[in-house]
C-alpha cells in the first residue's frame, strides 16, 4: 500500500522540482548578469556561473561610488529611494482601490438582483477586449484636462475604480460559495453592505489575498501609463526609472548589467510582500479550513 502511494508521490515531487528550476533559471541568469562585469556579459552568456562576481553594478545604478565603470550606453543612476516610495504609493493606492471597488461590484453581480445586471457585467468583461492602444490617447487627454498630469491621482485614475479582471475573478468566487450564511444574516436584518463586508468578504480571504498579490505585482510592473502620465521624478515609479537602462539609442545594446542589477533591486520589495502576504494566505486558509 505504502509503496503504491509513494511512486506517484515521487513523480509529483520530481515534477514540482522541474517546474521550480525552469521558473528560477532565467531569474538566476538575470541575477548572474547583474554580478558580471559589463565587459564580460556576452562571453559568459552561455555559462551558469561567473568567475569573478562583482557587486559594483548595484552600487552604480544607485548612484553610489562603484568599482565598476558604467558602460557607455548606461542611463543616469536611479534615485532608488524616491522611485521606491513612488512605487509603494502607486501600488498601494491602486490595489486598495481595485480590491474594494471590484469586490463590491463583484458581490452585486453575484448576489443582488437588479435590471440590466448581466448586461452590465458582460460589458465589464468586454472592457478587457478593447486594445489598450486606442484607449490611452483619449485617457491621456482626459487626465491632462483634469490637470492631473504628474500626479498619483492621474496615474491611478483609469484603473482604481475597477479592474474587469478583478471583478470577474471575485464574482466567480462569490458564485461558487454557498449563500445560506448570507441569507440568514439578511433575515436577521443586516444591511446588504454589512452582509458583504462582515460575512461574504471574510469568506473569500484566500482568493482576496491571491488577488492582492497578483494585482500588486501587476501594478508594480505597470509601465506605459505611468510613463506617459508620471514622468517627473517626484511621481516616477520604479518601472519607469528602470526604462532608463533599456534602450538609450535606436541601435545598440541596453546596459545589461545595470538593467539587471536595477531589476533585481526593484523586485526585492515585491518579494518581501510576497513572503509576508503568502504567509497570511496560508494562515487565513488554515483558519477558514478549520471552521
Amino acid at each position: 500500500m505504502s509503496t503504491k502511494l509513494n511512486l506517484p508521490k515521487l513523480f509529483g515531487y520530481a515534477g514540482l522540482a522541474v517546474f521550480g528550476i525552469i521558473s528560477l533559471l532565467p531569474i538566476w541568469m538575470a541575477l548572474k548578469t547583474a554580478i558580471t562585469m559589463p565587459t564580460d556579459v556576452f562571453s559568459t552568456a552561455n555559462s551558469l556561473w561567473v568567475n569573478n562576481p562583482v557587486f559594483g553594478n548595484f552600487l552604480r545604478v544607485l548612484g553610489l561610488p562603484s568599482d565598476v565603470p558604467p558602460p557607455a550606453n548606461s542611463g543616469s543612476p536611479i534615485n532608488f529611494m524616491i522611485a521606491l516610495r513612488n512605487s509603494v504609493i502607486y501600488t498601494g493606492l491602486l490595489v486598495t482601490g481595485q480590491l474594494f471597488f471590484s469586490s463590491l461590484a463583484a458581490y452585486a453581480f453575484a448576489r443582488l438582483r437588479f435590471p440590466g445586471r448581466d448586461a452590465i457585467f458582460y460589458s465589464f468583461i468586454a472592457a478587457t477586449m478593447i486594445p489598450s492602444i486606442v484607449l490611452f490617447i483619449p485617457n491621456f487627454i482626459l487626465i491632462r484636462q483634469l490637470g492631473l498630469l504628474n500626479s498619483f491621482a492621474g496615474m491611478v485614475a483609469p484603473n482604481i475604480l475597477m479592474l474587469p479582471f478583478a471583478v470577474f475573478f471575485l464574482r466567480q468566487f462569490f458564485l461558487s460559495t454557498p449563500k445560506e450564511l448570507e441569507e440568514a444574516a439578511r433575515l436577521d436584518g443586516l444591511s446588504w453592505f454589512k452582509v458583504y463586508w462582515h460575512i461574504a468578504l471574510p469568506l473569500q480571504r484566500g482568493p482576496l489575498a491571491t488577488l492582492a498579490i497578483l494585482l500588486s505585482i501587476q501594478a508594480w510592473n505597470d509601465f506605459f501609463w505611468p510613463f506617459l502620465v508620471g514622468q517627473k521624478e517626484n511621481v516616477q515609479v520604479m518601472a519607469v526609472a528602470l526604462a532608463n537602462y533599456q534602450s538609450q539609442t535606436g541601435q545598440g545594446q541596453p546596459d545589461w548589467t545595470g538593467l539587471m542589477a536595477a531589476v533585481m533591486l526593484s523586485i526585492i520589495p515585491v518579494l518581501i510582500l510576497l513572503v509576508f502576504f503568502g504567509r497570511r494566505i496560508v494562515e487565513s486558509l488554515q483558519t477558514s479550513g478549520m471552521k
Partner: protein, 311 residues
C-alpha cells in the same frame, strides 16, 4: 446566462404584494450603488475611449492633422488588407500554442502544490517569473536563446542536440515567443487555480476516499467540476489576453523574422504609431474587439459559465 444562483438568493425575501416589491426595489438600488464606482470607471476610462476609437475609425486621423470623415473606407481597406488577415492568423496560431499548454501546466502545478507542497516558498518560486516585467523577461530570454552565445544552445549541444535558431528563424520564432509568455504566466495561472482548489470543501474528498475513490476519479468527479467557475475565468481572461500579445514581441522579434511573428496587436501598433494611421489602427481595433466578444461569448456558452455545480 440567467445567474441561477443569484436568483435563488432572494428567495428568502419573497414576500407578497407591496412588501416584496419594496424589498426588491431596495435590492436593485443597493445593487446599483454597489457597482456605481466601478461603473464610473468603466464609462470614463473604457466606454468613452472606445466610442472615441469607433469615431476615429471612420476618419483618416494621422495623430497630427485634424481628422477628416471618410466613412467606412478604413473598413473596406481592412477587408482587402492581406497583412491584417495574416496577422489574425498568426495571432490565432499563437493562442493555440499558448493557451492549452499554459492552462494544463497551471492546473498540474496547482494540483501538485495543493497535494504535496503547501509551503509559501514553492508558490513564491512559481510566481517568481511574474515579478519580472514582460519587457525584462523578453530581454533575459533574448540573451538565453541567442543561437551563438546563449545558454540554451550551450545546453542542447552539451546533451547532443544540434543548436536551434529560436527567435531568429521564421519556423521557431512564434513558438519561442509563446514559450517565453508561458514561462512568465504559468505561475499566475497556477495561483488562480490554487485559490480555486482551496475553496473546494475538504470533506468532499474525505467522503470520496472513504468510498474508495482513486486519485484520478476524485480529480474527475470533484476537482474539475467544482473548479469550473475558476476555469471559466482563467480561460476567458487568458484567451483574451493572449490575443493581445504585444510586449514580448516588441522586445524580441518586432514582428520578424520575415513577418512570422507579426501578431495583430503589433500590426495595429505599427499602423498607429509608426505609420501614423490612427484611423486605420482604430478600425482594426474595432474589428478585433468585436471578434474577441464573439470568441468570449462562444467560450461562455461552451463552458456554461454562469452555473456553479456547488450552488
Amino acid at each position: 446566462m440567467t445567474g441561477r444562483s443569484a436568483d435563488k438568493s432572494v428567495n428568502a425575501d419573497k414576500g407578497s404584494g407591496l412588501f416584496g416589491n419594496r424589498l426588491r426595489r431596495k435590492e436593485a438600488l443597493t445593487g446599483y450603488l454597489f457597482i456605481l464606482p466601478a461603473l464610473i470607471g468603466l464609462i470614463a476610462f473604457f466606454a468613452f475611449p472606445t466610442i472615441r476609437a469607433a469615431q476615429i475609425s471612420l476618419t483618416n486621423w494621422n495623430l497630427m492633422r485634424p481628422a477628416h470623415w471618410i466613412g467606412f473606407d478604413n473598413y473596406g481597406k481592412l477587408w482587402a488588407d492581406g497583412k491584417f488577415w495574416d496577422s489574425m492568423q498568426i495571432t490565432l496560431l499563437y493562442v493555440i500554442y499558448n493557451i492549452p499548454l499554459q492552462t494544463a501546466l497551471g492546473l498540474i502545478i496547482a494540483v501538485l502544490a495543493d497535494r504535496l507542497a503547501k509551503s509559501v516558498l514553492f508558490r513564491a518560486v512559481i510566481i517568481a517569473p511574474y515579478l519580472i516585467s514582460n519587457v525584462v523577461a523578453g530581454l533575459v530570454w533574448l540573451l538565453m536563446l541567442d543561437p551563438l552565445i546563449g545558454l540554451t544552445n550551450a545546453f542542447l549541444t552539451g546533451i547532443g542536440i544540434p543548436p536551434q535558431s529560436f527567435l531568429s528563424s521564421p519556423d521557431q520564432a512564434l513558438i519561442s515567443v509563446a514559450g517565453i509568455s508561458i514561462w512568465r504566466h504559468v505561475g499566475f495561472t497556477a495561483l488562480l487555480f490554487y485559490a480555486g482548489l482551496q475553496s473546494i470543501p475538504r470533506d468532499l474528498y474525505e467522503a470520496a476516499r472513504l468510498d474508495g475513490a482513486s486519485e484520478s476519479a476524485m480529480f474527475r468527479m470533484i476537482t474539475l467540476p467544482l473548479l469550473r467557475p475558476v476555469m471559466v475565468f482563467v480561460l476567458v481572461t487568458s484567451v483574451v489576453g493572449s490575443f493581445q500579445v504585444f510586449d514580448v514581441i516588441a522586445v524580441t522579434t518586432q514582428g520578424g523574422p520575415a513577418n512570422s511573428t507579426r501578431a495583430v496587436l503589433w500590426y495595429i501598433y505599427e499602423n498607429a504609431f509608426q505609420f501614423s494611421r490612427m484611423g486605420y489602427a482604430s478600425a482594426m481595433s474595432m474589428v478585433l474587439f468585436v471578434f474577441l466578444i464573439l470568441v468570449t461569448l462562444l467560450q461562455m456558452r461552451l463552458l456554461r459559465a454562469d452555473s456553479s455545480d456547488l450552488g
